[in-house]
């Protein structure tokens, strides 16, 4: 009968605290204690960690472990309130949810707990009048104030739970609490099935204490002729009732049994035709429910509590209590009707069957499910405050439909506080807080508004007897009601296809795209030369050095990888050959990045978008330019993407969360140890992601962050251990100053070099699509930030993958915005932004498609997908064209130069290498970087190497005027053309000075 099977209960493994005035061991324990303990037992059975905080009576221990969890006791009748608050405050960090059981005065738990801890305030009944009975005037006023106004202030919009529709109405009428009130009726233990033997003479049996407010006097007066009344129970009203019975001449028909043992009581109940109550109001008709469990129908006045528990015409009869006239007369009339009806054994058996069926619907596990649903709803409300579609209303809507239709729907889209029931092919849904129009909309959203669906406003009698709530997304399908209530979990095969095959395919495609003509497609770049130099020194045991000095510009992450590769494949002597050896390593890193990004997207967007984004990344010319060279971008971003993928894992327990977090931290740390400013796509998003309400996820992300810090600290410590801390620090300090923009030594913001805009315009033909994607990504980030504020629930599935991507976007764009505005801006800084842009554009597209609501959903979706499809196709076509061009027409001027040099430049010549690379790759010559005619002359230079593209853009040492002067005076002995260097020329300047010398 469980509402949710134990394996997938949403509160499994979480800490739920139940605050109640007393516990079952307390001498004054009563119904509320039973209620709380049974709920605790159910929660415990479902795998929640339960702590029951309560007052301590004399002789009770401070702490004990019970079958339903830990009981913590402290404080007396009144001081328990302070004790509970203090205990909650001290343990607030470990608490996931609180059931605050109010016995007149609530515990005011919101005062001690975290703002976002879900609380369900359970009110059994309103005590406003009880205060007046039990306390002197002023104290009663204080009690009333605490129960009413003070509770309203403290609890605000938090949710409440009541045991019956009547007591909910009472709460609304007497108290000003604002939160939604959900129903969590008491459970009913079913006795083992017995055979009933109704007495020959009509017999009414009442079990319960004989107290004045039960008004047995009315029942005695109403007793029809020829009917026996048996009263099992004792109490203050017994003497009065006995004398009344004698007075009415009923002493032979009214039998007072007093307190009886269970066997006698059961036998008595089994002999009953009927039970009756003349009470004028109860919170929950417990005695009626107990009789129903034994198969005995009931007659009672239609008063709060009782009219909820008796279903007239099914399990008993209700007597109108409101109209004028003698209550006893009316009760008597209905009793006669009831007994006449039950005189037919078939009818009586039918009533009995319905009574048992009705009572058995009230299980304690259903009660616990109702309360946890309230907690889950509160948790969601705190998370999604602006998302409220159905405003607070006590009304509800009942939907009935064929079970088959409900089986098709994704029930996770219902609210957790809604209720559902399936029986004999018929399904019923109770949409709480909804009117018929809302209900119709819900059905349309679920796609189950068929012709056999009936929607109507629920009456009080529709509100009870429910057992199951819609499943939560995290909880998985609910087996107990036999519905595929969650979209079918894809089979193992499909999961593997999504999570392994697709990224693997993407890896292979990206690798193939990168490896084609990798040696000739891009000219050797000066940074490549430095990086392989460092790696070679590492591999040969020379330490972290370059050209004889320490190299601390970048951390050693990628250099260590390269050194390992060099050790395995061996090293060529020439720097140029070494660069070409190292390039496939970067290509592999880039392809891993592609695959990881696809995997990240598969987690959060639909398949076609993920595939499209992956292909875009595989083919993007801007990304390709870095992935095909020995640059740090590809490996750094690959590590970061892997880290982000791990962050979308949704662990259920803190320990697994910490383990995943450490793994994510290791990936992110590797990224930072490859290139430091990748903190902006690793650590910065992680800091943003710490602001989650999910405790396990927070732990996971915090451990990831700690791991990153530890990894970097390890790097710093090893620098200290190697004794090279001070040069390292000097390098880092200047690096920081450059990133902050205090020093503009390199990049577009440096005065005197070409500006970003002129470079962008120059590159528009090759990287136009990439730039457009970055712009779109920036807009998508802004839009998603707004969307996350308005509709946070869209970001929650897949381990909060949406949030992970958004945090990544915010980190990347905040960094690039700062770099463009104030800091040092270099072209490679756009690399992480580029990758992030593709990811976030995909996520934005998904959100836009998913959140299309309103009248023209289909049209909007068509327009969106059509537009995205066309844009993607255009970009693909352009990218593929650029790729084909790049890979067919070589850009390898240095390789040509190196091939020519042994014959063209005599050994021992003096060469001025005005660009950056030649000085590292040329061998056997005297090298310098003289870039004006006088110094050429002074140093007796024989050859000058010039790259026109660099001279035009202001890089290297040669300026345009110098190139022009050389063109005028000296012959070009070698020229090679490429995209990177323009014309790489060698001028023979020997004759220039020889000729001039004589004049």
């Amino acid at each position: 009968m469980s509402g949710l099977s134990p394996s997938n209960h949403p509160w499994r493994g979480r800490h739920v605290v139940i605050c109640n005035w007393r516990d079952g061991g307390h001498p004054a324990a009563g119904g509320a204690e039973l209620y709380c303990e049974r709920v605790a037992a159910e929660l415990h059975r479902e795998g929640a960690r339960v702590t029951y905080v309560t007052a301590r009576a004399k002789g009770q221990s401070r702490r004990s472990t019970t079958p339903y969890g830990t009981v913590v006791r402290g404080g007396g009748t009144y001081t328990v309130y302070l004790y509970v608050l203090l205990w909650l405050f001290l343990h607030r960090r470990t608490i996931d949810g609180v059931i605050d059981s109010q016995n007149g005065i609530p515990f005011f738990t919101p005062l001690a707990l975290h703002r976002r801890t879900p609380i369900a305030l359970l009110i059994h009944h309103v005590h406003q009048d009880q205060f007046l009975v039990h306390f002197p005037g002023p104290a009663a006023r204080v009690g009333q104030f605490l129960e009413n106004q003070a509770s309203t202030w403290v609890y605000g919009p938090r949710a409440l739970a009541a045991v019956s529709p009547s007591s909910r109405a009472e709460i609304r009428r007497r108290l000003s609490l604002k939160g939604p009130i959900h129903l969590a009726p008491c459970g009913q233990d079913m006795p083992p099935p017995r055979i009933r033997r109704p007495n020959g003479v009509p017999r009414i049996v009442c079990v319960g204490r004989l107290v004045t407010q039960k008004r047995f006097d009315v029942l005695l007066r109403a007793l029809p002729a020829g009917v026996e009344l048996h009263l099992a129970g004792d109490g203050e009203a017994r003497p009065g009732l006995e004398s009344l019975a004698a007075e009415l001449g009923l002493d032979h028909r009214v039998i007072f049994h007093g307190r009886v043992d269970d066997t006698t009581r059961d036998a008595l109940v089994d002999s009953a035709w009927l039970t009756a109550s003349a009470s004028m109001g109860e919170g929950w008709g417990l005695s009626v429910m107990e009789s129903a469990a034994a198969g005995v129908p009931a007659v009672a006045f239609s008063v709060p509590g009782l009219r909820d528990t008796i279903r007239p015409g099914e399990t008993g009869w209700l007597v109108d209590a409101g109209a004028d006239g003698d209550l006893a007369v009316r009760l008597s009339e209905v009793l006669v009707t009831a007994l006449r009806t039950l005189a037919d054994p078939a009818v009586a058996a039918e009533y009995s069957r319905r009574c048992v069926a009705w009572a058995s619907r009230f299980t304690w596990s259903a009660t616990a499910a109702h309360l946890t649903a309230v907690l889950t709803a509160e948790e969601q409300r705190m998370l999604l405050a602006p998302a409220e579609r159905r405003p607070g209303s006590d009304s509800a809507t009942l939907v009935t439909l064929p079970a088959a239709e409900l089986g098709r729907a994704d029930l996770t889209r219902l609210r957790v506080t809604d209720l559902l029931d399936v029986e004999n092919g018929h399904a019923a849904l109770l949409l709480t807080g909804a009117d018929e129009q809302d209900g119709q909309k819900v059905l349309e959203r679920l796609g189950i508004a068929g012709p056999d669906t009936r929607v109507r406003l629920a009456r009080h009698r529709d509100l009870l007897g429910w057992q199951a709530h819609p499943p939560t997304r995290a909880g998985g399908p609910d087996r107990s009601i036999g519905l595929a209530t969650v979209p079918a979990i894809p089979g193992q095969g499909r999961r593997i296809a999504r999570l392994a095959v697709l990224p693997l395919a993407m890896f292979l495609i990206a690798l193939a795209v990168r490896l084609v003509a990798i040696g000739q497609a891009y000219d050797i770049f000066v940074d490549e030369v430095s990086y392989v130099g460092v790696a070679r020194n590492l591999a040969t045991g020379g330490g972290l050095t370059l050209n004889g000095g320490p190299f601390n510009l970048h951390p050693p992450g990628f250099f260590l990888v390269l050194a390992g590769v060099f050790r395995v494949v061996g090293m060529d002597t020439g720097v140029d050959a070494l660069v070409l050896t190292a390039r496939p390593v970067a290509a592999v890193a880039g392809s891993i990045g592609c695959a990881a990004t696809t995997l990240l997207l598969v987690r959060i967007v639909r398949m076609p978008i993920a595939v499209g984004a992956g292909l875009l990344l595989a083919l993007d010319p801007f990304v390709l330019r870095f992935d095909s060279r020995v640059m740090l971008e590809a490996p750094a971003m690959a590590w970061a993407s892997l880290g982000m993928v791990v962050l979308t894992v949704r662990p259920r327990r803190t320990r697994t969360g910490v383990a995943w977090g450490i793994l994510a931290g290791l990936f992110c740390g590797a990224s930072i140890l490859t290139k430091e400013w990748y903190v902006f796509v690793t650590a910065v998003p992680l800091v943003l992601l710490l602001f989650t309400t999910d405790r396990v996820q927070r732990r996971m992300r915090l451990s990831a962050l700690m791991t990153i810090v530890a990894a970097y600290a390890g790097y710093v410590l090893s620098m200290v251990a190697l004794g090279s801390f001070s040069p390292w620090w000097a390098e880092k300090a200047s690096g920081l100053a450059r990133v902050a923009g205090a020093v503009q030594a390199t990049g577009f913001n440096q005065p005197g070099t070409e500006s970003l805009s002129s470079r962008l315009i120059a590159n528009l033909t090759s990287f136009g699509a990439s730039y457009a994607l970055i712009a779109v990504g920036g807009l998508a980030t802004a839009a998603l930030v707004v969307a996350r504020r308005r509709q946070p629930w869209q970001f929650l599935p897949a381990g909060g993958g949406g949030s992970v991507v958004l945090a990544l976007g915010v980190g990347a764009f905040a960094f690039i915005a700062y770099a463009v505005g104030f800091g040092t801006l270099e072209e490679q800084m756009f690399y992480p932004v580029m990758v992030t842009s593709i990811v976030i554009t995909a996520a934005g597209l998904e959100v836009a498609i998913r959140s299309s609501v309103g009248r023209r959903v289909a049209l909007r979706r068509k327009i969106l997908t059509g537009f995205a499809g066309i844009a993607a196709f255009v970009v693909f076509a352009g990218d593929a064209g650029i790729w084909a061009t790049v890979r067919t027409y070589p850009d390898n001027t240095y390789q040509e130069l190196l091939a020519w040099a042994p014959t063209g430049i005599p050994d021992g010549s003096t060469v001025s290498a005005t660009e950056d690379v030649a000085q590292f790759v040329l061998t056997g010559v005297r090298l310098g970087q003289w870039a004006d005619l006088p110094s050429l002359k002074a140093n007796k230079v024989d050859f000058v190497i010039v790259a026109t593209e660099l001279a035009d853009r202001g890089y290297g040492h040669a300026r345009v005027t110098f190139v022009a002067a050389l063109d005028d005076a000296a012959p070009v002995v070698f020229t090679a053309h490429g995209r990177t260097m323009g014309d790489l020329r060698v001028y023979d300047v020997r004759r220039l000075f020889d000729a001039k010398a004589p004049r």
Binding site: P391, G392, S393, D394, S395, T397, G433, D435, L457, R459
Partner: protein
Amino acid sequence: MAGAIYRGRSAVPRRELELLIPAFNEERRLSDTLTALARHLLRSGINGTIRVIDNGSSDRTAEVVDRAAAAGLPVTITGCSRRGKGAAVTRGMLTSTARWVGFCDADLATPAEAIDDALDQLRAGQQVVIGSRRCEGAQLELRQPLVRRVGGTGFRMLTRRYSGPVADTQCGFKFFEATAARAVFADIRLAGFAFDLEVVARARSLGLSMVEIPVAWRDQEGSTFRPLADGRRVARELWRLHRDIPVPTRRELASAR
């Protein structure tokens, strides 16, 4: 304007009159009201029905309606989870198929006989009929307390620009011709205290023909006015009114005349 959206649905008005009663936790008073109204409809020979709009009640308001319907009264019920009397009335107005639609309070502050006067005006071709406690011929059966009277005067002064010649916008007794009702209620934004005022303002700016009829009014116990809390609420509603509702321009008013 927005009335056009509903043109298709207003083709076949079945009933002559539908009377809407917004109700929030009215199980105690509603039964008598329903009986009195139904009896009056029957006596006057009006082909009308009553619809209770349950505004998220927690008590047995719906059961009271069920009981009345079971007793043969022409009563139905519709839910409305949006809070506020205005939301409830709007829900009823936009889902009604009757030729004339009106609403009155669940406590029967206006006697049922006033329906006849309203219907006379509607039959004479008026599109909007507004029950008034202040126009000529009206009588307040129970004098209101001073605070309330002062508040009322202030409210009327502040809202003159919306109410125009209508002397009493706040009386919960208004009747509409079906198309006029849809035009007015299709765009209603406010649900609280200023809802009645918004109805009048929209009816004026749509240029509907409007008449005030005097009604008797019995102040019911239970309707209390707390100067501070309610004053703040009214101020907020007035601000929303000011923000959301265009003041009828002179030209619109001229064309309306």
